[in-house]
């Protein structure tokens, strides 16, 4: 199978270039396996990866124009030549490795932790299965960055718009019956940019390798704000 991969090493290259590789296909092979096979041919080829089963979120890349997790993307789903690039809109560190620090900063901005004002009970805080169901589709985020780096609003305003990942996380805490900082959370999302730069383009939904729906989560936050405003 033919691959065209993005190469850039700031130590040695003046500018980035695309390089062709050929990889022998085996049954059940994922894109990560192919990237590892390319590494066997050229050990300077650089990308992040770890768990190999789609839970650690290390190996998000742009393949044939879409953001995907390499380890759970079967090669049989991809058209040749397979064009593999780093996430769009992020500064490239080297080859497929991008600097994700701004993405992590946006996440930290939504206070992504449970806030409880009442003293804690001796045992667990009770939560009904129905209340817990509201976290499904929100808590499973693996912070791979496929969504935010495929979002045009995040490309234009990565300094002001929080992006789908951070907003999905904000919604995860707003939706948690145990959390007691809903109002403060909503206040922090006010203004024209942080939340409202989402124009429901829905690239994030397309890109999420875990099947989550950040656009829906953002809509949900908007709906709560509206309800509170009335």
């Amino acid at each position: 199978m033919k691959f065209s991969v993005y190469r850039y090493n700031p130590d040695t290259d003046d500018e980035p270039y695309m390089q062709g590789f050929e990889v022998e296909l085996r049954q059940g092979m994922m894109l990560r396996d192919a990237l590892l096979a390319i590494r066997e041919q050229d050990e300077s080829f650089t990308f992040r990866h770890s768990c190999g089963e789609g839970v650690c979120g290390s190996d998000g890349v742009n393949v044939n124009g879409s953001n995907k997790l390499a380890c759970i993307t079967p090669l049989t789903e991809l058209k040749e030549p397979v064009v593999v690039r780093p996430f769009p809109g992020r500064p490239v560190v080297r080859d497929l490795v991008v600097d994700m620090s701004q993405f992590y900063t946006r996440y930290k901005q939504v206070d992504p932790w449970l806030i409880r004002k009442e003293p804690m009970p001796e045992r667990e805080i009770l939560q009904s299965p129905e209340e817990r169901d509201k976290l499904d589709g929100l808590y499973e985020c693996i912070m791979c960055g496929c969504c935010s780096t495929s979002c045009p609003s995040f490309w234009w305003n990565p300094d002001k718009f929080l992006g789908p990942q951070a907003l999905l996380s904000a919604c995860r805490f707003l939706a948690d019956s145990r959390d007691q900082a809903g109002e403060e959370r909503l206040d922090k999302l006010e203004g024209p940019y942080k939340l409202f730069r989402c124009h429901t383009i829905m690239n994030c939904v397309e890109a999420c390798p875990k099947g989550l729906n950040p656009t829906k989560a953002i809509g949900h936050i908007k709906a709560i704000m509206l309800k509170d405003a009335i």
Binding site: V55, C56, L126
Partner: protein, 586 residues
């Protein structure tokens, strides 16, 4: 150029469950704490834990910590230290409540309490009916816990060094650990972190085997650092092969599948575990189930064209149970095995999963340097989690006790470090010779020229470990394995990097990881060769019986001359009566 230095009260190596739970206690107590991780914290392998964490909350069935303790001692094949086990099983309960308070999205029962499922090796009333002790967030419990701990650490303003690789521990002239040399992966710059206390929380070493459920990062870095520091590793021969990895691939299918009612079948459709463990059947201990699967396949009852695996049947469960309790497993099975477990059984075979052994600690998380059990420990050096050996798992770990171990002992190490720093807050001057030695480890990889590649030697090494230190082990096969791993270690000096860039050079970190893996692999092979009995996960057809008279003792391995020594099991619990060794049947 002068080496950059930073100072902290505490240095934590590793950002999985143990490292982050320790960091949280320390940051909450306003200590200056640095967490060094070679990956962004939520990429740590705790994220992959599926089934759950054991605690006798009694939310579903009657339970208490004493029963949990009995199961753990029995599961350990009587090699676990009973004081540490009692402590862990008692502390399980407040530890899980604290996690819930921190925000972990546990699944719930209709009464609003935390959902608990049945797991292997669990019983009520000291060996009676099946218990339901494993607290779960669907089948993504590790993910839910790791993300929650990271979130709370952001709140507590823990200082993270993300994508820094720990090279070696640094000692002072008296041999006390006073920090570590780390490498900024993005820039290739070394950094010296000085600390009054250091916690090793670097996780496991499953990558030493070719087929493993472990991530690429699980290369035993902390264990190898300890070996190079002249300290021992304990009970390294005890390596757990999880019964249900996806056949040929190794990805994990949680024991929770069997806890929810799934069971194993051979090519004839027989539920073969009834033969090997008449009572507990598919929920027997992991070592028992793994051996049963390998035996079935060896006897010609395997499935598939190569007859090389068995099947895990789930499709008798309702789609609702699978969707609600095992959504991640359904996803993994579809992606990696091409089957939807709602319709078809999942092809499975044992996969290298967990090392019971590790850095010897007492039940306070303090590293113990000798085989004398006299309370001697190294001041300021702690270890917790899979890299450590407290020893709570002995010869075989129970499912659901791994998350428990990392969380309980991570938290405890945090508390003990807080107390230690109160009286020992001053930084000791480091030994420049130790710094030079650690820098030499980096400099070695600057050597240029023709040579072996890292991946060539890594492939050879991992295959050797798989062939010579697997589920069943006989003398000749293991002796050959030890020899081969020694030869592979010799070959390390022939390995050369072709990439010498400073920016994000994973070729260099993989070379450092390979050195670590080979050091740790040899400790496994040598320790295994010398234990002439079958106990827990260490199964020797040439010595098929457990031999308590001669072998109810821990192995200690030092790197220098592959020296071995032994020390007795701590059979005296803290407050209850000891569980004397009995024949272990399920």
């Amino acid at each position: 150029m002068a080496l950059e230095k930073q100072r902290f009260d505490t240095l934590i190596l590793g950002a999985g469950g143990a490292g982050l739970n320790a960091a949280l206690q320390l940051a909450n107590a306003n200590l200056k704490v640095a967490v060094v991780s070679k990956v962004f914290p939520t990429r740590s392998h705790t994220v992959a834990a599926q089934g759950g964490v054991n605690a006798a909350l009694a939310n579903v069935l009657p339970d208490n910590w004493h029963w949990h303790m009995f199961d753990t001692v029995k599961g350990s094949d009587y090699l676990g230290d009973q004081d540490a086990i009692e402590y862990m099983c008692r502390e399980a309960i407040p530890t899980v409540y604290e996690l819930e308070h921190n925000g972990v999205p546990f699944s719930r029962l209709t009464n609003g309490k935390i959902y608990q499922r049945a797991f292997g090796g669990q019983s009520q009333n000291f060996g009676g009916e099946q218990a339901a002790r494993t607290c779960a967030a669907a089948d993504r419990t590790g993910h839910a816990i790791l993300h929650t701990l990271y979130q709370q650490n952001i709140r507590a303003k823990t200082h993270f060094y993300d994508e820094y690789f720990a090279v070696d521990l640094i000692k002072d002239k008296e041999g006390i650990v006073v920090g570590a040399l780390v490498l900024n992966i993005a820039t290739g710059e070394p950094l010296l972190i000085e600390s009054t206390t250091t916690l090793l929380a670097t996780g496991g070493c499953g990558q030493v085997f070719r087929t493993t459920s472990n991530a690429h990062i699980n290369t035993g870095d902390g264990m190898a650092m300890v070996l190079r520091a002249g300290l021992p590793l304990m009970d390294m021969e005890f390596f757990q092969f999880h019964p249900t990895g996806i056949a040929g691939k190794g990805m994990l299918i949680t024991e929770g599948v069997r806890g929810e009612g799934g069971y194993l079948i051979n090519k004839d459709g027989d539920r073969f575990m009834e033969k090997y463990a008449p009572n507990a059947k598919d929920l027997a201990s992991r070592d028992v189930v793994s051996r049963s699967i390998v035996t079935e396949v060896r006897d010609g009852h395997g499935c598939g064209p190569e007859a090389d695996h068995v099947m895990l049947k789930v499709n008798h469960l309702s789609e609702d149970v699978i969707a609600k309790r095992l959504p991640g497993i359904r996803e993994s099975s579809r992606i990696f095995a091409g089957v939807d477990p709602v319709k078809d059984p999942i092809p499975v075979f044992p996969t290298a999963h967990y090392v019971m052994g590790g850095i010897p600690t007492d039940r306070f998380g303090r590293v113990m340097p000798t085989s004398e059990d006299n309370g001697e420990h190294l001041p300021g050096l702690y270890a917790a989690g899979e890299c450590a050996c407290a020893s709570v798992h002995g010869a075989n770990r129970l499912g659901g006790n791994s998350l428990l171990d990392i969380l309980v002992f991570g938290r405890l190490a945090g508390h003990n470090i807080i107390d230690y720093v109160k009286d020992n807050g001053t930084h000791r001057p480091l030994d420049e010779a130790a710094v030079e030695q650690a820098m030499g480890r980096l400099a070695r990889w600057e050597n240029k020229g023709e040579g072996l590649s890292v991946s060539q030697l890594r492939n050879e090494f991992r295959k050797t470990m798989e062939d010579h230190a697997g589920v069943f082990r006989v003398e000749e096969m293991m002796a050959e394995g030890v020899e081969k791993v020694r030869q592979i270690r010799e070959k390390l000096s022939d390995v050369r990097l072709t990439d010498h860039s400073s920016t994000f050079n994973i070729n260099r970190t993989e070379a450092l990881e390979l050195e670590n893996m080979i050091d740790v692999g040899l400790s496994i092979a040598v320790s295994a060769l010398h234990r002439k009995e079958s106990r827990g996960a260490h199964s020797r057809p040439d010595y098929p019986k457990r031999n308590d008279a001669e072998w109810m003792k821990h192995t200690l391995y030092w790197q220098e001359n592959d020296k071995l020594d032994y020390k007795g099991v701590r059979v005296q619990p803290l407050t209850v009566e000891s569980f004397p060794p009995k024949e272990r049947v399920y």
